[in-house]
Subunit: 310 residues, 2 copies
């Protein structure tokens, strides 16, 4: 049983109540707490030593990343963060100075995005360091793009550049909160997700949720400098565009919108966020799966890394 | 540096914003989200294998306890739970059936208290099993008893019976949510906390927060059957009243109210909650520390277990 099957099994019959607008399965849960026109978002996310960082990662960057990941999930729902709760599970020999440094990194990012750190817990963990952060945010009712909203014909857009995040970007990325709010204020964004599992993996989440397929133009995928540099290193290196499709931890916005909005969207974005790329990488089609096109060929992309990739 | 010193250091300059009414340091954080007359509560709490349960604890009970602890914190602020987020950190060899059983125990309790489980994460933990649960609740503005509200002359009250929780109560207790709401609806509760560290330890939190002291009548402390049974086991066993003062994990309500309210409070409680004890165990006094009185003596209780205890 893999992670997704396990999650599916666990979330089949969870307790609910009338405050819940969107339950488990999207980037955040959506609640109606009685404020007209407003919704509230809840999200929890954990980072674990050996998976999301190593023993050598500077503690400030670990703290920053732990919070930034959850903020990126709020961004995927066009939310504004309000408050965070922090659970630190520490190995027994952990140095209080390192704990303070983790908090310093987290706190600096919290200040940048006006997130209040309102509580937390510090406990012992017989394994390595683990940080779990729960976030409360707000969003405008009717302007919360879910994963399930993609429609046949939609353009598929992605912010920034993708791939090679582990070279550093995964510790330094800026959650796309401002960009996401700008998007929903100016356009009808049909579906949105943040790229954490990798472009192909997260696009698949959108496709499954709406029972549609996608055609991507291979040459349009915005490949990061880091992915290009890694691809040049050796003969066994992943081709750069494959890295962009599968590496993950990019924390960019992946969304769909009506094709008629594409020009205004790309133009408006360029004026608003001149330092951040926005690229239309393809379109939503009837059917299923991800098809990768270039000038000469069209192939179904399986996204497990085993596909023969020229 | 102990846990309390570490927490103090970490929480000295945390990021905040105007939504925060009460920040870190009480049983829950209190937020104003724009609903007139209403406040919202946030709390996170973690249970860890080897500390809060053992490898032999049935997984349903682990899940139940993980949620019940946080609900007890909401009770201490007279809150009503709304939604929960669950982080499960699992050892690599963990059986999906056990995960399902943990969720089943959690879910049954969530249903009982109308808490929606709106999301969560399952991650790998190189150590043992760890469950972190974040809770959102609501409470009535002006009726949220903080830890800091105790006044000289107040009666000190505690629900239920105390001590010996590890014999079973820590896995089966019912969070005192209904009792706490009834209390604040009918009386001016000056200060409240749930008993998790032990009566003496948690009373000290109230005393420090208000810079006051307490005098307890030793014979009035409600000692559980479990603590009495444990005290009979051997010559090295903890005296039952010491167990009631220091064992912890009772998850009862400890609160103070004006002495003039004592009779009405005890009478009303007995009618409302006939199966649950409520006891006035002493009073708040000027000064500091906990003094334990009986008919013949009066001693300062240090609560570290090293005090000579007759």
């Amino acid at each position: 049983m893999n992670e997704f099957q396990l999650i599916k099994r666990l979330t089949q019959s969870l307790a609910t109540n009338p405050a819940v607008v969107v339950g488990p399965g999207d980037d955040c849960a959506v609640l109606d707490l009685g404020v007209p026109g407003q919704r509230f978002l809840l999200k929890t996310d954990a980072v674990v030593e050996g998976i999301h960082f190593t023993r050598e990662t500077p503690p400030e960057k670990i703290g920053r990343k732990a919070l930034a990941r959850g903020l990126s999930d709020l961004a995927a729902m066009a939310g504004t963060p309000i408050a965070a709760l922090v659970t630190l599970a520490l190995p027994k020999d952990f140095d209080p100075d390192q704990v303070a440094a983790i908090y310093a990194g987290m706190n600096a990012l919290a200040r940048e995005f006006s997130v209040a750190i309102v509580g937390g817990e510090t406990t012992t963990n017989p394994g390595g360091l683990l940080i779990s952060i729960a976030l409360l945010g707000s969003a405008t009712a009717g302007r919360i793009p879910l994963r399930s909203g993609a429609r046949v014909g939609d353009g598929i857009f992605v912010s920034g550049t993708l791939g090679g995040s582990m070279a550093g970007h995964h510790l330094d990325f800026t959650p796309r909160l401002a960009e996401a709010r700008w998007l929903v204020e100016h356009f009808a964004i049909h579906a949105m997700i943040d790229v954490s599992d990798g472009l192909a993996g997260d696009l698949r989440h959108l496709l499954h949720a709406a029972s549609v397929g996608a055609v991507l133009l291979k040459t349009s995928i915005p490949v990061s400098q880091a992915a290009k540099a890694a691809a040049r290193v050796g003969t066994n290196a992943k081709p750069a565009v494959l890295a962009a499709l599968t590496d993950g931890e990019d924390f960019e916005l992946l969304f769909t919108a009506a094709p008629g909005d594409a020009v205004a969207l790309l133009d408006g974005w360029k004026q608003q966020f001149p330092d951040t790329k926005l690229t239309c990488i393809g379109k939503i089609v009837a059917g299923e799966g991800i098809r990768l096109n270039d000038r000469y060929s069209s192939q179904l992309f399986h996204g497990d890394g085993y596909v023969h990739f020229a």
